[in-house]
């Protein structure tokens, strides 16, 4: 429990700095922030907006108000000539799309990486191992946006096998959902496969040298059982930590891939906010992404401590 408590303090400190940075983004805008946020508005409207955003208040007042709004779900608005529309409306439909994309990509990556990693470790140095390692090393150098564009062109346009844009919810039509998600998820997963496979391979090679593996083999336990039950378990903890850290890369990739395949997720919202100079919306979207990322890593850390008895019972 002490591990969890220490992690919790760490979490709060990090959350504080992350939200402080995001909350002060608007004051980092060059020139008058109100001109940047709503350049089209009349002088009275700008004055009202300045009042509303409290840009003249001291830093801590601004931060306090921003965080109060954020936790109660007030994410500010999109400003246009016709008025203000709440950002929250868009986020509530976009967030599930992005989460589905990332979970599907992550699962796809693990489904390929785990068997490849386990078998490569078992036959380390064999032709299979060398071929798999070299191929994955090459895959690691393909940027996900490049893969997405190449897939969109060959599979989507030339062959016409899969639709290149749009989104269908899984509860509407599951098959169509996967058809639309296939290319975006593959674009994201390929790089991750290489990362996980390499990691699992080196970790398992080390585990296979340990005494308890020799012991298990000496007892006459079948090799596949030794491999999957005895050796994979400790190595899967390392995999879990790295999978948590990799969510950061995954988020960055998902933003770009969503834009390429016009998937209406957080990335597409971010893209629209940047191009329409909607700085308040940008601020809220970045805050959601950053806080989500911090929380995921915290959960992974806690899970790690709960799953690994060596850490669970450690008394610092």
């Amino acid at each position: 429990m002490r591990v969890v408590a220490r992690r919790l303090v760490h979490l709060l400190v990090v959350l504080f700095f992350v939200t402080l940075f995001v909350a002060l983004l608007t004051s980092m805008l060059p020139g008058d922030p109100v001109d940047a946020i709503a350049g089209f508005a009349s002088e009275e409207q700008k004055e009202a907006l300045r009042e509303d955003l409290g840009l003249d208040d001291p830093v801590w007042t601004q931060y306090g108000r921003w965080i109060g709004d954020f936790v109660t779900g007030d994410l500010g608005g999109y400003y246009s000539v016709t008025g203000e529309r709440p950002v929250m409306d868009r986020v509530s439909t976009a967030l599930p799309v992005s989460l589905q994309l990332m979970v599907e990509a992550q699962l796809l990556a693990l489904v390929f990486a785990v068997p490849l990693g386990v078998y490569s470790a078992y036959r380390a140095g064999s032709r299979f191992d060398r071929t798999a390692s070299a191929t994955l090393f090459g895959l690691l150098a393909i940027p996900n946006f490049a893969l997405a564009l190449v897939l969109a062109y060959y599979v989507g346009v030339e062959l016409g096998w899969l639709p290149v844009s749009g989104y269908v919810a899984p509860n509407e039509d599951l098959l169509e959902h996967f058809r639309r998600m296939a290319m975006p998820a593959v674009s994201l997963a390929v790089g991750q496969i290489a990362v996980y496979m390499r990691l699992l391979r080196s970790d398992m090679i080390a585990t296979l040298q340990e005494d308890f593996i020799t012991m298990a083999k000496a007892k006459g336990i079948p090799p596949s059982h030794v491999l999957w039950r005895h050796a994979l378990r400790p190595s899967s903890l390392t995999l879990l930590t790295v999978a948590g850290l990799n969510v950061g890369t995954l988020i960055g990739g998902a933003v770009i891939v969503e834009v390429i395949f016009s998937l209406p997720g957080m990335g597409l919202l971010l893209f629209e906010a940047i191009n329409a100079r909607q700085y308040i919306a940008l601020q809220s979207l970045v805050a959601i992404i950053a806080v989500g990322y911090v929380l995921i890593n915290f959960l992974v850390d806690v899970l790690y401590a709960v799953l690994d008895p060596r850490i669970r019972h450690a008394r610092a």
């Binding site: 946006f145 890369t249 988020i251 933003v255 940047i274 940008l282």
Partner: protein
């Protein structure tokens, strides 16, 4: 099914002095890119920003244009060479920024430990708690979008944003290595002889820490080249008309159907460069035994 006792032992990689064929190819490709980027103004290339209507969207080999023309009829090969210039300038500057600032903070944290260590490790943690691309994207959008932003300001802000992202990665490597090197006898000896902290840090410890940072910096350059591509697709990369590998891809995206070569050529350039940098980074790291987990 082979018996479990046939499980191969950990392959002990021979530490060869030579690079081997793949290593030489990697060095060769990188040299080619660097030389092309440096010599772009004096090479006999077409103007990268001069549209020739007849080669618009035409594939490789049209009218003596090696890679054909882009959507507006600008020579694609010329844009690729000039693009290498922008992409390399950006990525190398950003990583140097990361090495200087991250390296300094890491060195101080690892050498003095105590309060400095807590403070700087905390800073690295906070910087790492943003997904990298999102942090860079946010900084560029807030500091360098809008009507009055010049290409130069965009470039400077891009270097700053991508440099900030690389500070914690390089800083942690510097700190981890400084921690071990500061325990060595020659540091103790220098201290016993009355050397100042500054001269021990920069004269004794830093030269030993640099090789590890260099191996990570190679990977860092690759990451920044890819990140620029991503930022370009989101509309906040190197500002047009200055070509970069990223913004050539971003521009070509709208004509993927009619002129796929515009996207494919810079994609291949990025792929080969990243592959070469990753490979050399791996070679240097396995020579130096830099642990990947320290990342």
């Amino acid at each position: 099914m082979p018996e479990p006792d046939q499980v191969a032992p950990v392959a002990i990689r021979a530490r060869r002095r030579t690079l081997g064929v793949p290593g030489k190819l990697a060095v060769g490709w990188l040299l080619l890119v660097v030389i092309a980027a440096l010599l772009a103004p004096v090479l006999p290339l077409d103007d990268p920003n001069d549209p020739v209507g007849s080669i618009a969207r035409q594939g490789p080999g049209t009218d003596g244009h090696v890679l054909g023309g882009d959507g507006l009829g600008r020579d694609l090969f010329s844009r690729l060479v000039w693009g290498a210039r922008a992409s390399l300038l950006l990525s190398v500057s950003a990583v140097i920024l990361g090495i200087v600032i991250g390296g300094f903070l890491g060195l101080v944290a690892g050498y003095f430990r105590g309060r400095f260590d807590t403070l700087f490790v905390g800073l690295f943690d906070v910087l790492l708690s943003f997904p990298q691309l999102i942090l860079a994207l946010t900084l560029v959008t807030v500091l360098a979008t809008g009507e009055g932003v010049s290409s130069t300001r965009r470039m400077v802000v891009l270097v700053f944003a991508l440099g900030v992202v690389s500070i914690p990665v390089l800083g942690r490597i510097a700190r981890a290595n400084t921690l071990t090197w500061s325990q060595r006898e020659f540091v103790l000896a220098a201290r016993a002889m009355g050397a100042r902290h500054r001269s021990i840090m920069f004269g004794e410890v830093l030269p030993n820490v640099l090789p590890a940072m260099f191996s990570i910096a190679l990977l860092g350059i690759a990451v920044v080249i890819v990140a620029e591509g991503g930022l370009s697709l989101l509309g906040v990369g190197v500002r047009l008309p200055t070509p970069s590998w990223g913004n050539i891809i971003a521009e070509g995206r709208s004509e993927l159907r009619d002129a796929p070569h515009v996207v494919l050529a810079p994609t291949v350039a990025i792929f080969l460069t990243v592959l070469a940098l990753n490979y050399l980074g791996d070679v240097v790291r396995s020579r130096l035994d830099v642990r990947e987990s320290a990342l």
